[in-house]
Amino acid sequence: MEKQKENFTEETNQEPQEETKKQKKGFMSMVMKSMGMGTKSPEVKYRVISYPELIDDKKTMKAYAAHIPWMTYREGFNSIDGYESDTGWGCMIRVAQMMLAFTLMKHFKYKMGPELNKTLLIQDLMKTILPLFLDNYVQYESPFSIKNIVAEGEKMINKGAGEWYGAHSISQVIKQVNDKYNSQHSTFKILTFNDGLIYKNEVDQVFTDIKENGCLIIVPLRLGLKKIDKCYYTQIKKALSHPLSAGILGGKSVYALYCIGYYNEKLITHDPHTEQETVEEVNDSTFPTFVNPHPKIISFSECDTTMAFCFFCNNQDEALSLYKTIESWESTEEDEYLICVKDQNEQVKYSYDEDNPEFDYDFELI
């Protein structure tokens, strides 16, 4: 697994990290605590986890993919309603887990501040986040385990184990999972927005209560009936290459993929469709099963029409810059818009005038 140690900066001489402890008291304190136990390699500089300005060679692409946790089908976990494997049904759940793990990495890296960041290794950051996703721990130990996600999905939208999710429904469910299991440490918020509209007041509210909040914004959209029109390609690329992007939950038809960037007019994705054995903990021997420097490349024309665009803001300033960028996308004439920002959600007041006496066609009047 030597190649999986690829990093944007340089190879690291990583020492074995002390096993991450799981605590029942929410995960924030657990993660912050384990950060202090990371390897000490002050000579290695940690590079920002953000989209490289341009992915124009395979080496950069592989290094970038290796930075983003890879979640796959797992088999051999404790039974979830009779299922001991999620092969054949869990791909969208795994895709959402990848996005969440990547986002949480950004969140905790920011919260640690610039001093600690200097000595932080990407591997250590990933190792501290990954226990939050382990299959066999539930509730507060691993808030984003497949078990928790399926349990909430069943309650919310009647999608239990074995059911397929779409980018839209999984977004709703992970928001609920976060609200429920992350209530004690509420510095990480998830907001989902329908209809391609981001409401500023809802995002701003996240930063009003606690300034140190992080806000994951998910915008699920369906971009076409059968395929994605070319007029949206540019917007998809702009969204993916935005510094605050947390990728896109998408895929090919009935085949979920986590889109992390684009390269040569194609999408770079992490593919969850590999079955691996479930792991009980994240350690040096199991860690490589969460790393994959070989992303799957797909063309825009193969993409499924349903996509959820994800952005992560660490603070109000970042949110403001996101609004500004999205507003600038809107004003571009040559490409069709995808996402808009609005001040607030105004509920529509309308009345039917069905009683219009002059009306003699079989139309319904609105």
């Binding site: 029109d229 808009c340 066609y361 139309f363």
Partner: protein, 115 residues
């Protein structure tokens, strides 16, 4: 909507002309679910909607009519593309996308799912 389109073009043309004349502040649309959709169907598919109605308002009305919760996925398409900006008026959408028969065709659909 195959049923509606199976009517002769001339009849559809004269229908749309009549209603546009009689209701100058409204536009005639045909709204229906995609044939692959599992969402509920609308009771009616022919609507006369105020020209000033915003796209978002229209979408919310349809969502309510098919009793779909706020959190469920719903997307609308005109001519195979997403509806224009949400604060456009239905008059603008009509002017740019109406069919030769004088009706505007709007299709709705849920999300795709993957396993």
């Amino acid at each position: 909507m195959k049923d509606f389109k199976s009517q002769p073009l001339e009849k559809r043309k004269s229908d749309s002309k009549k209603v546009l004349k009689k209701f100058p502040t409204k536009v005639p649309i045909i709204c229906y679910k995609d044939h692959n959709s599992v969402l509920p169907s609308l009771e009616k598919d022919k609507y006369l909607i105020p020209k000033s109605l915003k796209v978002l308002e229209f979408e919310q009305i349809i969502r309510k009519k098919i009793s779909l919760g706020e959190k469920e996925a719903l997307a609308f398409f005109v001519n195979e593309k997403l509806m224009p900006k949400k604060d456009s008026t239905m008059d603008e959408v009509y002017a740019q996308n109406k069919d030769e028969d004088g009706f505007l065709y709007i299709v709705y659909m849920e999300e795709n799912i993957s396993g």
